[in-house]
Structure formats: structure tokens, C-alpha cells
């Protein structure tokens, strides 16, 4: 993989909640344009790992870099100290996140949800931001819902607005945390289709999902997490034809 531009680099990431060690040394590298699917049983630390990547959770040890910049910390001598709030906020503009429960801003229209970040955080000119947001909303099939509030949108529509909201920041990387788990079957297809398109267009994505069809179609690499560790990593073919690890086999046999 030499020569490829590394977008996300995680090295021996450890994270505990009190006594519970949730991440026990995660290392992962994602290159530009790659789509990584993270699979694994519930409670294995997938969400926690994603949240560490944009520093919604502090890590206990290890390091995470995005576009070569250390996330959440500054190097001081041989120690890492937490970075300033302003710097962390600036780093997050490079890391989009799509949540299982959408988390749209309910007091803002679909359009305002998408323009909020560009206007308030990136200081983009309002007219420009609105044009861009309309373009993104029509891309996710919601051109006619521009002025609708989230409360009036279905789950699938809300999640598509959330994807547009993430895209509007032009991030280097988008994190998807079970983006389709809260949706009904038809909506799942719509959202996965959009995610698949993004993957093909070269967006760099880390996707936590239980949708094995999506992993097979869209992933460049699949990563299996279990009990706070990455236990197996490989191409979709490797995973779905000949997984090595017993726990992976067990997990896949349950889910497929």
C-alpha cells in the first residue's frame, strides 16, 4: 500500500470506560478513496472506535491521525496532551459522521441542517452554501424536501439529509455508525444505494454495518472486531468465501 495517501491512521488505540476495557489496542489504516466496513458482534467496541476517530471519546493510549494530523491531542515532548477545543473542532470539520439515530437538528429545515456547518463553521457565504445544499439534497433524492423540518420526514429521508449534512463539509473521511439499523426495509435500500454511490465515487468511508450485502458490494476491505480487538481483516471475497478465524465464522454464520 506504499504510495497511497493515508487518510486515517490508528495505532494501538486503547479505551476504557471505568474498569471496562472497550478497545484493547486497535490499529487500522485507511487510504484515500477506500471504503472500510467494520463488522462484529454488538458490544465489541465498533461505535466507540468510530467516536474516538473524531474525538467524541478521549482515548487512553495510542494515537489516531487524520490526514497526517494527530486527532484530539498535541505532542508535547514525548507526551500527548489534549488539544484546545477550537483545534479539535477544526479537525472535526474534516471528519463527517452519520449516526444510527440521524441526529438531525429538529428546529431547522432540511436545508438549514445542511447549511448550518458550512455557514457557521466554515464561514461559507450563505448563497453559496444554499446552492450547494440544494445540490446535495437533490443528489440524495430530496429536492422537494428542502424546506421540510425533520419531524415531517421519514427515517430514510432523515438519514439522507444527515448524509447531505456530512457531505456539505467536504470531509476527508466519513464515519457511518450503523446508519441503516434504525430504518425500515425499503429505506435501508435507499440509504445503502447512496452510500454505495459515494464509495464508488471515491469518498473515503469507514462503515460500521450489519448489512453484509453492502460490505460485499462496496467495501474495499472488511474488518472484523471482537471484544475490543480487530481479529481479522481482508477483502470481501476473503471474508465471505474463506474466513479464517473461528469467531468470524461463527459471527457470519449467525448474520448471513
Amino acid at each position: 500500500m506504499t504510495g497511497a495517501e493515508i487518510v486515517m491512521h490508528a495505532e494501538d488505540v486503547h479505551k476504557s470506560f471505568g474498569r471496562l476495557e472497550v478497545l484493547k489496542g486497535i490499529s487500522l489504516e485507511v487510504t484515500k478513496g477506500e471504503t472500510i466496513c467494520i463488522i462484529g458482534p454488538s458490544g465489541s467496541g465498533k461505535t466507540t472506535f468510530l467516536r474516538c476517530i473524531n474525538h467524541l471519546e478521549k482515548i487512553d493510549s495510542g494515537r489516531i491521525e487524520v490526514n497526517g494530523h494527530l486527532i484530539g491531542y498535541r505532542q508535547r515532548g514525548d507526551r500527548l496532551v489534549e488539544d484546545s477545543e477550537r483545534n479539535i473542532a477544526r479537525q472535526r470539520t474534516q471528519i463527517g459522521m452519520v449516526f444510527q439515530r440521524f441526529n438531525l437538528f429538529p428546529h431547522k429545515t432540511a436545508l438549514e441542517n445542511v447549511t448550518e456547518g458550512p455557514i457557521q463553521v466554515l464561514d461559507m457565504e450563505k448563497r453559496h452554501a444554499v446552492d450547494k445544499a440544494k445540490m446535495l439534497l437533490s443528489r440524495v433524492g430530496l429536492a422537494d424536501k428542502v424546506d421540510t423540518y425533520p419531524g415531517k420526514l421519514s427515517g430514510g429521508q432523515q438519514q439522507r439529509v444527515a448524509i447531505a449534512r456530512a457531505l456539505a463539509m467536504e470531509p476527508a473521511l466519513i464515519l457511518f455508525d450503523e446508519a441503516t439499523s434504525a430504518l425500515d426495509p425499503e429505506a435501508i435500500g435507499d440509504v445503502l444505494y447512496i452510500m454505495g454511490e459515494l464509495a464508488h465515487e471515491g469518498m473515503t468511508m469507514i462503515v460500521v454495518t450489519h448489512e453484509m450485502g453492502f460490505a460485499r458490494e462496496a467495501a474495499d476491505r472488511v474488518v472484523m472486531m471482537d471484544d475490543g480487538l480487530i481479529i481479522e481483516e481482508g477483502t470481501p471475497e476473503h471474508f465471505f468465501v474463506a474466513p479464517e478465524h473461528a469467531r468470524t465464522k461463527l459471527f457470519l454464520s449467525k448474520i448471513l
Binding site: 477545543e85 477550537r86 473542532a89 441526529n103 437538528f105 456547518g117 457557521q120 466554515l122 456530512a166
Partner: protein, 258 residues
């Protein structure tokens, strides 16, 4: 002709409908003391609520002690202490003079109110889904910006109803500052009473308080209905929202549509 309760309708009529011009000065004092104290109380309550949620422990302690003291002691005692323990300036804004006692009264009422507002504001912030802060941070907002633009506007719909009740209380509580010599509505009634010994001055001032709180009830209902409309997420223009606020049926009809 001596009934047990003698109501002098003439005095009431005169005091309510044709009050002396001095009365309007005292009405104004009651109004501005209420509004400034409530506004400052909201601000203090917000600061105390944010301090209460701070990662910095001493701020949490300060917030806790503040509420403990000011909710645990009589507001009248607070008013007296603040007035007599410090020296307050008299402020002049053109024709409008705010005497030192009124300043002290406003300070005392504001600090007292802040202690109650802290709980109300905290409950409002707590009512907002935690995912909102995370989503705001994910688009690069700082804590302060997320609070201002995402969390507090949503907390408002939980904060506004009890805040309205607080203001209703505030308008009545301002009568206590008469005890430190502020010439407000109640002081006017009291002064007339001690001159003429006619209790109906108190009845007349009660009618005035009732008018103030009643007007406020309408304003409060209007604000709450507006918030409820925007919460339902209707695609209404500002004008439609105004209309909907006055006529709940229209907003229900719209709210039913897909």
C-alpha cells in the same frame, strides 16, 4: 351603612381608571424592576446552569453554593442585606432616574431569581437529546456554538413555560422592595393608605397587579403557542405562524397533513 367590608367604589374607580400621574411613575417602576430583574435572573441562571455542567469542579461547587444559599433564605432578607451592606449608586438616563434602592432591589431580585432559573434552564438543557451535541460537534462546532445554535433553541420550549410563571411571580415579588424605600406601585398604595386610612387603595393596587399578570398570561400563551407550532415542524411562514398562534385550529389542520 357600615358593612363589615366597606368598599369605597369611588376610590377604586379613581385609582384604577383615573390614577394620579404619580401613580404611573410607580407603575413604571414595578414594570422596569420586574423586567430587568427577570432578564438578569435568566442570564445568571444560564451562567449557573453552564457552571453546574462544567468539567471544572470549582465552578460546579460555586453554582451549588449559590443555589443553596439563595433558595434557602428569604428573599426579603436578601433584599435588606444587599441594600444595606453595600452602597449603591443612583443612575440617571436622561429623564429617567433609577434610585439606589431600586438598583439594590434589582440586584437582589436578579440574584434570587437566578438561583431558581438555574434549575429550570438545566432541566431544559437536559431535555435535549445528547445526540444533538454530538451532531453539532461533528460538523465542527465548539461547545459554545453548539449550545447557542443547537441546544438552547431546543431547550427553550421546555424552559419558556416555567419561565413565564417565574415572571408572573416576579411582578408580584417586586412589591417587597417597597420595604427598602423604592417608590413602586405598592409603595404608592401604602403611602395613600397611611395618609387617608382607606384600605381600598390596596384593593386598587391589587387590580393593577392583576392587570399586569393577566396581560402577561396572554403574552405567555402566545409565545408558547408559537413555540409549539415550530416544534411540530410545520412549514409555515411567519405570518401563518402568527395566525396559527391566535387560532389553534388552523395549526392543527396543517399539522395533520403529511
Amino acid at each position: 351603612m357600615h358593612a363589615l367590608v366597606a368598599v369605597d367604589l369611588h376610590i377604586i374607580w379613581q385609582q384604577v381608571f383615573h390614577p394620579h400621574s404619580v401613580f404611573f411613575r410607580t407603575l413604571w417602576a414595578t414594570v422596569y424592576i420586574s423586567i430587568i430583574s427577570q432578564a438578569a435572573g435568566v442570564l445568571l441562571g444560564l451562567l449557573a446552569a453552564l457552571a453546574r455542567m462544567s468539567r471544572f469542579a470549582p465552578l460546579r461547587w460555586i453554582s451549588g453554593v449559590y443555589v443553596w444559599i439563595f433558595r434557602g433564605t428569604p428573599v426579603l432578607v436578601q433584599i435588606f442585606y444587599i441594600y444595606f451592606a453595600f452602597s449603591w449608586p443612583t443612575l440617571h438616563f436622561g429623564f429617567w432616574t433609577v434610585p439606589d434602592a431600586a438598583i439594590a432591589g434589582i440586584v437582589a431580585l436578579s440574584i434570587n431569581e437566578g438561583a431558581y432559573m438555574r434549575e429550570i434552564i438545566r432541566a431544559g438543557i437536559d431535555s435535549v437529546d445528547r445526540g444533538q451535541m454530538e451532531a453539532a460537534k461533528s460538523v465542527g462546532m465548539t461547545y459554545g456554538m453548539a449550545m447557542r445554535r443547537i441546544i438552547l433553541p431546543q431547550a427553550a420550549r421546555v424552559i419558556v413555560p416555567p419561565l413565564g410563571n417565574e415572571f408572573n411571580n416576579m411582578m408580584k415579588t417586586t412589591s417587597l422592595v417597597y420595604t427598602i424605600g423604592v417608590f413602586e406601585m405598592f409603595a404608592f398604595a401604602e403611602q395613600n393608605y397611611s395618609q387617608f386610612f382607606i384600605a381600598d387603595y390596596f384593593l386598587a393596587v391589587a387590580v393593577w397587579y392583576l392587570m399586569l399578570t393577566t396581560v402577561w398570561t396572554f403574552i405567555q400563551a402566545y409565545i408558547e403557542r408559537r413555540l409549539a407550532v415550530s416544534e411540530r415542524g410545520d412549514e409555515l411562514s411567519f405570518r401563518e405562524r402568527l395566525q396559527a398562534a391566535w387560532n389553534p385550529m388552523t395549526s392543527w389542520a396543517r399539522g395533520g397533513g403529511g
